[in-house]
């Protein structure tokens, strides 16, 4: 059998060398020879030796010394079998101590030597495999480390906090570990010159958890910037995460919006620990989670519970992800909510709460589990805030006069919920301070009026009978499904007023028959005891003026703001 295995025979005695050579040749291995330990080392470094058969007593350098040097100098594992005439235990122990892997006592037993060589070669092969796998693993590790670096860089770019500072009242801390564990805090200036903030915490750890923060940040910045309301942003992020994340992943999060014009804070807590509103006398209000974390199930306006509180200058909101209350001490005890509340209540100056919390957490934690997964955020409602950059509320058209018109056929009316889309369009084009929900109400009433009565010809008085509401909506969905002909046209026109503010004119035309509106009194809302017919009266009360025109299928409402 031809074999490329190279055996190094180290033996000063010519006869013994001859015997060994013949055994090795018999098996079919290649071989080289050294006469002493020193030569053996040189040959090992020069050739790709697979196994060494080493005599102990030799001139120049003995076997022990040689073995030691071979083991320390050669990188791959080279098994060494000592061949020795000394059979006492001490000498054998010395062989192993010197780095020998096995030994054989003289005189040689051919069969034994052969099987020892073979078994050593098998071990060497295993070593080589492990080494190759190690090498592959190292390359892999290096690549991951590199990717982690790149990712960290990207995340810190996304999660940059330009607003941090005492002049804005905005403060946050995210430890590198927490960022990489999928925590995020992002903030954007809102239309009241306050801040909209998102604090998020993805399930899991590491890159896979953090990856979700990129699309979330993208949606958040874009929508806040364009003036979309909170709830709409949450719905959008939730939809995106449901599509994007695997079932077991989700984002616990809280949204905080400080309205500086009205000194009101709006909070939606979706799965984060309690947030605290802190006044000069301590905690005024806590906001516990009322909404399912995002990315689990579909959410609508109805199941997003919003907390709204009036705030005073000097008040602050504090929020942390679970990393803070789950900081563990050496006894395995957690920092917990009560310690957090205690730190807040006992701070001698509310401006120190943030630092006190961090200090308390660090002191509480153990060396084994350092408090390194901290995400903490605070926003103080300041009377005057200095922004670092100039106020640019909306990109594109800032102060503008514009007109828009939508025409919807039956197909679109059936399949497309046009109202939120339109309101978003309006707020995207121009900021109407605090008018967002009012415009929504006006549009929505005018649109249902056109659809229900103009096109579907439903009679509102049905709603006045027991169970009438249900009958009405039942009938509406049936007619909506069957209706073949029909269209609704919505026209919007926005003008700026010379003394500030603006005027939005909304006109809705439907393709229906119209009705006799001469005897319809728009100011009738207060005296209307019916459970129906409030729609247009409500519009009238919200607007400067409402006009019914044509054959009753055209309505124009004028809404002033500012």
């Amino acid at each position: 059998m031809e074999d490329n295995t190279l055996v190094l025979i180290v033996e000063d005695d010519v006869t013994n060398r001859l015997i060994l050579r013949s055994i090795v040749k018999d098996v079919g291995y290649q071989f080289i020879e050294a006469e002493n330990g020193q030569q053996a080392i040189e040959l090992c470094l020069k050739h790709n030796v697979d196994i060494v058969l080493m005599d102990v007593m030799m001139p120049v350098m003995n076997g022990y010394q040689s073995a030691r040097e071979i083991k320390s100098k050669s990188k791959p594992f080279i098994p060494i079998i000592f061949l020795t005439a000394l059979a006492d235990q001490d000498s054998l122990a010395k062989c192993i101590e010197a780095g020998g892997d096995d030994f054989l006592t003289k005189p040689y037993n051919h069969v034994l030597l052969r099987s020892k060589i073979e078994s050593m070669l098998r071990i060497r092969m295993l070593y080589q495999q492990v080494e190759e796998q190690n090498k592959a693993l190292n390359i892999h590790n290096a690549r991951i480390e590199h990717e982690v670096e790149v990712a960290k860089n990207i995340f810190s770019n996304v999660l940059k906090h330009d607003f941090n500072g005492s002049d804005t009242g905005f403060r946050c801390l995210m430890s590198p570990v927490s960022i990489f564990n999928g925590d995020m805090i992002i903030a954007e200036r809102n239309q009241t010159d306050g801040f909209d903030v998102l604090i998020g915490d993805f399930t899991g750890h590491g890159l896979s958890a953090a990856i979700g923060s990129l699309p979330v940040a993208d949606i958040f910045y874009t929508m806040t910037h364009k003036g979309y309301s909170f709830v709409e942003t949450i719905i959008e992020i939730n939809n995106k995460l449901i599509k994007l994340l695997p079932t077991q992943m989700f984002m616990s999060s809280a949204f905080v919006s400080v309205d500086r014009l009205n000194s009101v804070v709006t909070i939606v807590n979706c799965g984060l620990p309690d947030l605290y509103l802190i006044g000069k006398d301590g905690i005024k209000q806590s906001f516990s989670s009322k909404v399912v974390p995002l990315g689990i199930m579909s959410l609508t306006h109805d199941n997003i519970k919003v907390d709204i509180e009036v705030i005073e200058f000097g008040d602050r909101i504090i929020s942390a992800t679970d990393g803070l209350i789950e900081t563990t001490n050496k006894d395995g005890e957690m920092f917990g909510k009560n310690r957090m509340i205690n730190v807040i209540e006992t701070a001698n100056n509310n401006d120190n709460i943030f630092d006190d919390l961090l200090a308390a957490c660090n002191e509480f934690s153990s060396d084994e589990y350092p408090a390194d997964d901290l995400t903490l955020f605070e926003i103080k409602h300041l009377e005057n805030i200095v922004h670092k950059d100039k106020v640019v509320i909306v990109d594109g058209v800032n102060e503008s006069e514009w007109a828009l018109s939508y025409e919807l056929d039956m197909e679109s009316i059936r399949n497309f919920d046009v109202l939120p889309y339109m309101v978003q369009g309006i707020t995207g084009l121009h900021t109407i301070p605090n008018g967002h929900s009012t415009v929504f109400t006006i549009l929505s009433e005018m649109y249902s009026n056109a659809l229900d009565h103009g096109i579907l010809m439903l009679d509102s008085s049905i709603k006045n009978t027991p169970g009438g509401y249900i009958d009405y909506y039942q009938m509406k969905s049936e007619r909506l499904a069957q209706q073949e002909e029909g269209s609704i046209k919505i026209s919007l026109n926005h003008e700026l007023k010379p003394d500030g503010g603006g005027r939005l004119t909304i006109r809705v035309d439907d393709s229906g028959e119209g009705y006799n509106y001469e005897d319809y009194n728009l100011d009738n809302m207060g005296g209307n005891k019916n459970t129906f017919g409030r729609g247009l009266a409500l519009v009238n009360s919200l607007c400067e003026s409402v006009k019914i025109m044509g054959k009753g299928n055209s309505i124009e409402a004028v809404y002033d703001w500012g």
Binding site: T203, G204, Q248, F250, G271, S289, V292
Partner: protein, 101 residues
Amino acid sequence: MSVNAVVSSDNNTVLLKVSGRFDFSIHNEFRNSYKDVGLKNVEYVIDMINTEYLDSSALGMMLLLKEYAEESGSNVVISNANQEILEILKIASFDKIFTIN
């Protein structure tokens, strides 16, 4: 074993008893425990009487079980959770997603 699956004699209930820490370390064990049972139209009861601690990956694992259960016409109930665990489930609003006994 930190996850123990017991099928009731009438084949209607699968009791998944989680002992000790309910976190990512028992991820595979938890998943296998209900996949191995392979029953349809049953009630999975996550029994937390011996569960000491729960983290967010456990919440994720429970969502996976729920998804699996719903595909086979089954439902999931959480029972015997201690006060602290109930608190975590509440923070995550999981009381809105699961039945908690």
